[in-house]
Symmetry: C4
Subunit: 194 residues, 4 copies
Amino acid sequence: VFAIALTLLVLEIHVPDLSSGARLGPVLHEIRPSFIAFLISFVVIAISWTSHRDLFALIRRTDRALVWLNIIYMFPLSMLPFGAALISRYNREPAAVHIYGLILIAIAVTRLAIWRYATARPHLLVAPIDQQSRRAGYVVVLVPAVAYIIGFAIAEWVPRVSLAVFAMVPVLYFLSTTIARSSAKPGAVERDFT
Amino acid sequence: VFAIALTLLVLEIHVPDLSSGARLGPVLHEIRPSFIAFLISFVVIAISWTSHRDLFALIRRTDRALVWLNIIYMFPLSMLPFGAALISRYNREPAAVHIYGLILIAIAVTRLAIWRYATARPHLLVAPIDQQSRRAGYVVVLVPAVAYIIGFAIAEWVPRVSLAVFAMVPVLYFLSTTIARSSAKPGAVERDFT
Amino acid sequence: VFAIALTLLVLEIHVPDLSSGARLGPVLHEIRPSFIAFLISFVVIAISWTSHRDLFALIRRTDRALVWLNIIYMFPLSMLPFGAALISRYNREPAAVHIYGLILIAIAVTRLAIWRYATARPHLLVAPIDQQSRRAGYVVVLVPAVAYIIGFAIAEWVPRVSLAVFAMVPVLYFLSTTIARSSAKPGAVERDFT
Amino acid sequence: VFAIALTLLVLEIHVPDLSSGARLGPVLHEIRPSFIAFLISFVVIAISWTSHRDLFALIRRTDRALVWLNIIYMFPLSMLPFGAALISRYNREPAAVHIYGLILIAIAVTRLAIWRYATARPHLLVAPIDQQSRRAGYVVVLVPAVAYIIGFAIAEWVPRVSLAVFAMVPVLYFLSTTIARSSAKPGAVERDFT
């Protein structure tokens, strides 16, 4: 699903109308909103993918609830190409940024729910997880979630700042993951966060 | 195929035309039919996926007929994005709901055929399956099948009620699976139905 | 690639324009050409998939040429959704049927080349393959190839008969596979043809 | 991702408008630009795929940077269907060829970065790689990279020659891989380059 959603995103970058002799600069400028929407969504899916892998490296077996939590997680993920299409066409419209923000928040919230559910059940895990590692996993998901909520909240007035916030989240995620890795005790699971 | 069909569904949610300054409420209202079609179809594919996994957890090897039954099963599944596109545009038209209903019925009928075929051939199974488990497997597929047939039959007069019936099927499926799990003897295969 | 091409086919069934109160019959009639194109192409990909599995069940390791033959095989396969779109819109036009026929012939020819290459190299195979089995493998691919060539040749005058021929090929394939299975010596590889 | 991008390409070959009684020749002529764009992009993805397999056959484990390098590699790859759509519609426009060339250069550069990173870290590899093999791996990626840069540079004046250069790259790649294979010492990794 990750790979497919990642690749489907490109279908939303529409081929611009080129007048004969158009120069590269203006053409690039024309596809910029599509490209930014593509880029943000690509990174969101990439992070969802790597953090999903990080989680499932810890999991030994699944149960019914975990399977369904995963399916619920796929739901906003598979809506992301639609959200990308929306903000690629209406990048100044609060309503479009709101819908995109809702999809991002839903992704973060379901990821949080999966982490919470799985790490609380040692029989599903390869090895029990200690409290500090569990907290690190929360922080790494909560930081994006809070940023998405802020982006959503300010979209009414400054939709383009919201997009900038959404675009910054991967940097925050990267930083928080790096901090989680380096401040972890030797052997702790967050050492292997991607 | 499941993952791909799941992700292709989103292509049928068309980006609405936003007039400048459109508010979130009316926009959400405009994409509602698409979203409902997406949601119903997403859940249908998700259930097909989990029940397929449940079945293949019991199967040790396939034979020629089982491979072809699986391919026949993929046929209505891969038509589902078309059906979703149809009811997302014509959610009040009986003809559209009829076609969508036919696809759903075809999915349920082929799933029934696979269950019937596989569970009757112990040499294909990891372990022979007892009669009660086999019946539980039937019930879990027949309940949606009957609901889909009812939804199809009433589409002529009340197409939107049909859609409500289709949307209710996952709840029925969830309930019947839960009952099958809890009423099963220890060690019976339906204990692991998702 | 098989699964993706299979699922992409559906994108070529366009949602018809439904006037209010349209009845199921005329609507089904309207989507018939799309549906037939979808059905034929679906079966072509399904057969390519199963026969590919049959072949690779015999293969122990690949070499450079086999990898590239496989990629060449993917080429006409991945063009099939385009061919399906073409005959779904122009099912009476010889040019459309010609292009579709060319794609089908290319699939059969590359499949033949893979069979010829792989079965002549015992070091690539799980076990050496005897001459009768090899011939059976040829027949099973040559029968469709000849039928596709006939369909292509007559498209100029009777394009719809060509489509009927293309639609009949799976039946021929099924028959020739069944004959190959039943006339095989015990333990021969064609016993496991799907 | 490779398989999906490969198959999505076909969505960019648009069904031409056939007037009644159109002959095969003119129709083929009309879809030629789309077909060439499809063909070039198909081969680019196929080569990326095989060379990715060649690399990962050498790799024993990944680390964080390698995972992210891979994701960065997927970025231009997943943009290729967009580039193909662009040059299929505007095959004489320098701006379109420039964008397509940029995507190709980005693919080659990230592939180079992955090779450089992975082969310098013996703990990630199945077996340490000697200097000659490492150089062979560079050459095999640098040859296409240089050709793409040349194609990009001349697109301003002769966009169709650029496309011819892009189309020739697979031949160069094939030749350089064949030379790398045949000039390698017995047991060297480039013996198994595809």
